[in-house]
Subunit: 379 residues, 2 copies
Amino acid sequence: MNYLDYAASTPVCTQALELFCELSVNHYANASSLHDAGSEANGVLRYCREQLAVYLEGCADRVFFTGGGTEANIFAIISLAKALPAQRRHILVSQMEHSSVQHAMSMLSEQGFSVSILQPNQYGMVTTERLEAQLRPNTGLVSVQHANSETGIIQPIAMLAKRLRKDGILLHTDAVQTFGKLEVSHAVLGADAITLASHKVYAPKGVGVVSLGPNVAWQPLYPSSSHEGGFRPGTVNVPLIGAFVAACEAIWPSRSADREHTRSLRDRLIAGIEKQSLPIRYFSPSAYDVLPGIFGAFYQGLEGQYVMLTCNRHGVCIATGSACRATEQGLSPALKALGLSHHQGAQYIRISFGRGSTIADIDALLDVLARLAQHQHQR
Amino acid sequence: MNYLDYAASTPVCTQALELFCELSVNHYANASSLHDAGSEANGVLRYCREQLAVYLEGCADRVFFTGGGTEANIFAIISLAKALPAQRRHILVSQMEHSSVQHAMSMLSEQGFSVSILQPNQYGMVTTERLEAQLRPNTGLVSVQHANSETGIIQPIAMLAKRLRKDGILLHTDAVQTFGKLEVSHAVLGADAITLASHKVYAPKGVGVVSLGPNVAWQPLYPSSSHEGGFRPGTVNVPLIGAFVAACEAIWPSRSADREHTRSLRDRLIAGIEKQSLPIRYFSPSAYDVLPGIFGAFYQGLEGQYVMLTCNRHGVCIATGSACRATEQGLSPALKALGLSHHQGAQYIRISFGRGSTIADIDALLDVLARLAQHQHQR
């Protein structure tokens, strides 16, 4: 099988899996228990928190673990929103956010917050100008993803943060797709809140992270939550969190090599498409700022779903967009934001790759794409 | 180390861990992805759902996975409450519920539901009479745990369900402590909603279950949630869910043997206490209906915390109550419900054991308890 759907979920690295097993066998105690077994589990937890604080240039006591990226986005946004002063209850979110951000917004709307949608420019970018045009005197919080999971388009978070800081407006960024690939930290991005998810960085599914800046006020989603410094209730999953940090430690030293690797695979894919003159349009790096590991494209004249299923029949796994919306009809927010028609959007395919991807994976994909073009030609 | 804190978290069984590794390596794809890798992960998920439906005598398409027991309780209660008719928005919960149930209640109170607290009798039991006295014409939902995590006291869920059914009132029961130990199913308990958690049944932490009866109306906590049939958003954790079901399958055949085993350890503990006339009061099985694996006791004249720490110094892990409240001050709701004074409550210790516990564990504990009595005597 040629797996080219890393943006949906990555394979788990050996280091993460081995540590998970070791912790499950030796540190299964509840980290909140006060006996030694609990304290040892808590020691592992503390180490993980400190390690993430180093990566994120944050504070260990403001790194909160959740059960995944969705929960991290929901908890981050609602916890920040609940602590906003009464005269600052307007929230701005980009049009392309993950559905979890939409969930947080619908909950906040019900609670009397006003929410508005920030549209990007024609290249899918939330520029400072776009942002500025929608700021209100009562804007308290802005949420813009670092990169989109469907298109890979990267947002200029640091610039947005700089602008928002002037007015004391908080910025949350969903860095689920970029952590471990681009530089993601409070210092680099200037964001007040950053969220991560384990299964996009070669760790098992089931861990999310919310990291808050040092002076950011927050109120728990559930008052008197008993874990994670009051941030989230529920037994803290020490073995999974340990596995997540083990995966981070495994990938950290080779981040630039990995970036080069994915970039060269992307170049090979583009070269193959161009050489064979395949009827495929893609986000050209000259116009769009995209993550090298996410290649979004339009197969002209064919439905993305048909291309995906044909690839699948030939043992190549690609996607037509976010797995979180795979069963939904209609254009996704990320494609809508680019001003695409339904017809264009229906042609969309997403190819995503990473550390474990090979030249053979790309070549197998190119074979199927070429075969499709031949069929199209014969018809 | 003699680990006697199974009610906080159990060790993970080999079968669960092995399957977790296998699924993490071979089925890491997102179960919502439409390619074969996703379909295969989804196939595992379907099997797990069906298997749980068999155990719970429920419907596979009404078994919803969450990230843990806390999330399961919150989602179960809020999803049921949101679908209650306008004239049925009164909710009754027992005084001893897990903090996650309290979280759900505070959220529902904010949303205009009226919530009231159901007090048990002097033996900690929510009787049909107690229930009846608090029912209102607008009561729509009742939540009573199957057994308490701190005291082990079992509630007569089937009887309560029978009474509630007469008035068309829904019943949710938190069966986190009893699943795999007592009979837990929709048919046996008569509950409309049952919640479970993986780490109390020899599986890794990180999976919760909400099982709903066939005709129970519900509304998602987050509208348009994309996973779990709309019940919960967030990538479904197939490897962990598989591990949970593997643990269930491992323990299922030996459930009565395990019950006998824990009962005999409990008898040994009681016999040791009585033989040495240790100054320990406990919930006598003749007065209280308790889970055999949870032994709640009061060390007269000593603080529970002191007893726990002394045990810990001698390599025996016990608790003073729920790990979810370990750092909180004051009497827990479960002890308050028994009408205990703060002074009595402070003497509380919880010893909990299961499949992996041995006679040596109990004897090591008895040694420390006897040593404490000697010291007390010498002072």
